[in-house]
Symmetry: C2
Subunit: 247 residues, 2 copies
Amino acid sequence: MQARANLKIVSGGEPCAGPGAGRCANCGARALSVCAQVSDAGLSRMEALSEEVELRPGEILAREGDAAAHVFNITGGAVRVYKLMADGRRQIIGFLFAGDFLGLTSDKDYAFSAEALEPVTACRFNRKGYMGVVEQFPELESALLSRFTSDLSAAQAHMLLLVRKTARERVASFLLDLSARAARRGADADSVHLVMTRGEIADYLGLTLETVSRTLSALKSKGAIRQTDSRTYTILARRQLEAMSGA
Amino acid sequence: MQARANLKIVSGGEPCAGPGAGRCANCGARALSVCAQVSDAGLSRMEALSEEVELRPGEILAREGDAAAHVFNITGGAVRVYKLMADGRRQIIGFLFAGDFLGLTSDKDYAFSAEALEPVTACRFNRKGYMGVVEQFPELESALLSRFTSDLSAAQAHMLLLVRKTARERVASFLLDLSARAARRGADADSVHLVMTRGEIADYLGLTLETVSRTLSALKSKGAIRQTDSRTYTILARRQLEAMSGA
DNA sequence: CGGCATCTTTGATCTGAATCAAGCTTGAGT
DNA sequence: ACTCAAGCTTGATTCAGATCAAAGATGCCG
């Protein structure tokens, strides 16, 4: 099973090679790379819990309130994670790409929903088994803690954005963030491809789709970005964009 | 040293007795109560790392960007946790009361600042030592993971509030949240005492202090709450308040 | 008790982004 | 190549909450 490759422990923390797509042994391994000392026994128990899955756009990986059955290690494609209010108002919590994890929780149920934006490939684990194995390997557990720490601090930074930044600052921050993620995947940092719609960006940034569209147009006419096609932008003046992103 | 009492392991997860103030052995213990099996050796190592501290209003427990030296278990008083933008815009991430933890992170540095609102008593640990001991006791570690999980899901719920809720929904949610915390501490759930200023509430809810004041006045004139003094409100119509809190 | 600083309330006005409203572009399916 | 639906852009208008402004309340300290 190909998925096993995702658990192979690599020596260092070398950057994920390929530009996002397909199987990427390093993506998964990098996330766990602190645990080079994990015994073969532990590793093979992990492998036994894993299963490779593919999801079509629109397919649901997790639904808010449902029992948290799985942990996913995304190996390709893009996922949106969101919460809904009773009356349908939606907040997108974040977007996940290759190398990201989903469903790590010690709660019984998922606290959010997650849906594939594009065709997604992922390595899926039984959550209880996963958490059980993690508990037995301190190195894995501290990797998990540091993942939570960084998720939490990202959530807090995003709160700051949502409450205190203007529409322009939010959109500029968003483009820079996607650019940084592209760079981490080894792709061209100046070419930002939006896999999500304007409406989804809006729901992530706390704006409306019209405001996102207008703001992108404004950044374009200021010469900070150039639009290749309706979903791809090139960053022309990174410095300027950073200045507009508000800290 | 009194602080040791905070680490005493209690049998169940019984609610913290006193209404917030002073030393409360159960508060600390409750947070760690899953680990009834921790050996005496582990417990005494924890105790050796602990130290009781008192802080005056305005004193800083942690500063964003500084080395994360300590973990605090708040035993009395109230703390505000916040982030700043370069130009001074402030976002309050949350308020902490007796029983809450601060500084649990696997990052080198604090990602936020924290300041005492009232006189605060806390049990302070050397963070590295604390994390080290935690790693050796799986029960402690999974308590920590579940704390992170709930912090993260609280942060995500707060994002939803910040982006999608109206001013009235935010203020109603805030009052209900404080009421729930009071109930957990064993205090009267219908009497909500605000230890923070209108400006601090505003910075937490993503509003201005004028809007918070106006909204409280509006809730008062609708008969949902009654004002005892400028910092204390009584919930008169909880059902109504819940309906106004938007999900 | 009195004086001063801090916090709170309320009113008047302004404004950034939402909402309402057309067209326009893109791409998948036939 | 044509059709239709989904997504995007742009314009006009509205509105919730911000900002500006000015009294009251509260409370601390000498």
